[in-house]
């Protein structure tokens, strides 16, 4: 009997040697006449253990963590095929505390299945939800999404059910589903893990959205920094087409739906929904005025559902299990789960899908194990480059959209970037402005010019020139950008800057008298 071995084909795992490990395993098995079946799964999201190799022994999958190609011979000699003892042995994958203590509503198939196999997907509840949706009808599906309280996971947190209702209620022959996979925020990779580990889960979510609002065409706008994701998505879509799960008259339902993947081209602002639509139309990613909302006049002027990868991927289980069940997770108006991403200076980085309501400290300490450097946490940037730097004193804030707004921060796409006490926060504030200057689409003045002036003013502050004057100027500039920019790029770039002024003023200069009022 052939022994099945899983080695991830996922960007993070490959970035630390998973391909070399897979080759070494195949070569060793061939040379020693071991009969194995090598499956390239996605990632469970325990990135700190990558490359994570699993061997199927009886009913269990025995995991070995941080495996290097050079370990392979030793692993086989230690009885890898029987789950033998070895320094790298972690134990059964379904007993790893990092994984089993999560609430895997959306990411439950990630790591478990072969992402490119329609059969494997079907064997794990795949396409069950779209079949249910066909039976229930479009409005019943929208009602389920409303009942779930699902909010947009890209960062803005707008209720998905209301957006879908708007598109469904807007008359039009042609409507679209545009999936935002332009995951540009530093510290975030949940979209990528989903697309590389369970691409058909996203496909099914998009199909359900299309069915609910009356759209026959879907686009995935994928950032070009994810070349492996591009290949996995395209292969999965072809496999779905070939098995009759995409295309015309899907499984005899009378519903037509197909998906194209379009690549971005290295522009951060194209993650903003209207810039993304412009880019999907082949133009420069310059944002549009709102209104009209994309739900009413979106892609090519047609009613369009614009949702993030994780939002859409959360949908199949909402349809399978009911909106109320999803709404039972979480706190207040933050219902359900979020895939938090532990990144930067953290010992156990990776993806943690949990119900809203746990604290930032629990994520960083219980899951993350503290900093990678072993030094104290100085600041945590949550929600990407436009998110505030949260000081260690506020780590007990619960992960809840509204609780974060209360402390002047945002949850965004759930990225958590940890900095230790060696970080120079004045440099981080400067970078926020520098990045905005680099990535501004240029449509509005506060963003285009403000960011350039922001870098200059911060440089003068760091150089200790006319402190009070420059401090006041920076505060005013932040205020102008926040209130007068057209989109979140210029409007939220001040957040990290203001948080540094407020919590880390001493980093701006040797003296400390600059403390905020």
């Amino acid at each position: 009997m052939r022994t099945r071995i899983y080695v991830p084909r996922e960007t993070a795992a490959i970035s630390v040697g998973a391909d070399d490990v897979a080759i070494a395993i195949a070569r060793y098995a061939k040379e020693h006449d071991h009969s194995i079946e090598l499956v390239r799964n996605g990632s469970w999201g325990a990135t700190w253990l990558e490359p994570l190799v699993e061997v199927v022994v009886g009913e269990q999958r025995i995991a070995y963590g941080n495996v290097a190609a050079g370990d392979v011979a030793g692993l086989f000699e230690s009885g890898l095929l029987d789950g033998g003892q070895h320094d790298k042995r972690v134990g059964p994958v379904n007993e790893i505390p990092y994984l089993i203590n999560q609430d895997r509503w959306t990411f439950w198939r990630c790591g478990l299945i072969n992402p490119l196999s329609v059969d494997d997907f079907l064997a794990h509840q795949g396409f069950k939800a779209i079949s249910r949706a066909f039976d229930a009808g479009p409005q019943a599906v929208i009602d389920m999404i409303k009942a779930s309280g699902l909010r947009g996971r890209g960062g803005a947190g707008f209720p998905a059910g209301i957006k879908w209702q708007t598109v469904a209620d807007t008359p039009g022959q042609q409507k679209y589903v545009a999936c935002n996979a332009d995951e540009g925020d530093s510290g975030t990779f949940s979209d990528r893990i989903m697309m590389e580990s369970d691409p058909l889960g996203l496909v099914e979510g998009m199909m359900i959205a299309g069915f609910a609002v009356g759209a026959s065409k879907g686009y995935i706008y994928l950032r070009s920094e994810y070349p492996l994701t591009y290949s996995v998505l395209n292969r999965a879509i072809v496999a779905a087409r070939e098995s009759g799960w995409l295309g015309e008259n899907i499984q005899g339902s009378g519903f037509d739906f197909d998906i194209d993947v379009h690549l971005g081209a290295g522009s951060y602002v194209c993650g903003e929904e209207t810039a993304m639509l412009e880019s999907l139309e082949g133009k420069a990613g310059v944002i549009r005025y709102k209104p009209p909302l994309p739900a009413i006049e979106g892609l090519f002027g047609k009613p369009t559902v614009v949702n993030n990868v994780v939002t859409l991927s959360s949908v199949p289980n909402i349809v399978n299990l009911g909106g109320e069940k999803y709404a039972a997770y979480g706190v207040n108006r933050s219902t359900g789960t979020l895939a938090f991403q532990l990144a930067g200076n953290i010992k156990r980085g990776g993806l943690v899908e949990k119900a809203f309501g746990l604290t930032l400290r629990e994520l960083i300490e219980d899951w993350g194990g503290g900093t990678a450097s072993g030094r104290p946490v100085k600041a945590v940037q949550v929600g990407g480059p436009l998110g505030a730097y949260i000081p260690a004193a506020q780590l007990d804030t619960p992960m809840d959209y509204e609780a974060f707004i209360t402390i002047g921060a945002m949850i965004g796409h759930g990225g958590i970037v940890v900095f230790d006490d060696t970080a120079d926060m004045a440099q981080q504030a400067r970078f926020a402005m520098e990045f905005c200057a680099l990535e501004s689409c240029g449509k509005c003045t506060p963003c285009r010019i403000g960011a350039v002036r922001g870098v200059e003013v911060i440089d003068r502050l760091i150089a200790d020139e006319n402190r009070e004057e420059n401090y006041e100027l920076l505060v005013e500039l932040c205020d102008t950008m926040e209130n007068a920019s057209l989109c979140a790029m210029g409007g939220m770039t001040p957040y990290p800057v203001q948080s540094v002024l407020k919590y880390f003023p001493e980093d701006f200069a040797p003296q400390k008298e600059l403390a905020s009022e």
Binding site: T11, S15, E225, H262, N345
Partner: protein, 156 residues
């Protein structure tokens, strides 16, 4: 990476493959990049003609996106992530090290390597990360960086 000389026939074949549809411009530019390595003046002229756009339209799109070069890069493109998660793990000093050891400032090339920053590779739990010829590499120490760069000649 093997790239071919720009030719109008090949370029027109590519645009025809996209139905000469103007809304496919960004995707076509990616195809040109893969094939020719850059978007030159003659490519802009051809795109404008084939897609029924003005040259200014095409130029506006080419110049908006970081991915589209107007001149060829060196044989190897080394990108160092300069975004926050990698900054928290020392990407600033990794970038300094790279500049020093290659003798290149960011956005500069020698006959072998083009050095550039990139703003997030989505590999933020394996910081600092770099991308070499389209391949993402994580947990990159200065020593590992030197080994990777030294190994490039063997497979160029």
């Amino acid at each position: 990476m093997t790239r071919e000389e720009f030719s109008e026939d090949t370029a027109s074949e590519i645009t025809a493959g996209f139905g000469n549809r103007p809304e496919m411009l960004v995707q076509i530019l990616h195809a040109f990049m893969d094939r020719f390595g850059y978007i030159g003046e003659e490519a802009v002229r051809l795109l404008a003609a084939n897609l029924n756009l003005s040259r200014a339209d095409v130029h506006g799109v080419v110049s908006f996106y970081h991915d589209f070069r107007t001149a060829p890069a060196a044989t190897h493109v080394v990108k160092i992530c300069a975004a926050e998660a990698c900054q928290a793990m020392g990407s600033r000093s990794l970038a300094d090290h790279a500049s020093k050891s290659l003798g290149l400032a960011m956005h500069e090339s020698n006959d072998r390597i083009t050095l550039e920053p990139v703003y997030c590779l989505g590999n933020c739990a394996c910081s600092p990360a770099i991308m070499v010829d389209g391949k993402t590499i994580g947990r990159v120490s200065p020593e590992r960086f030197d080994r990777i760069v030294a190994g490039l000649d063997g497979r160029s």
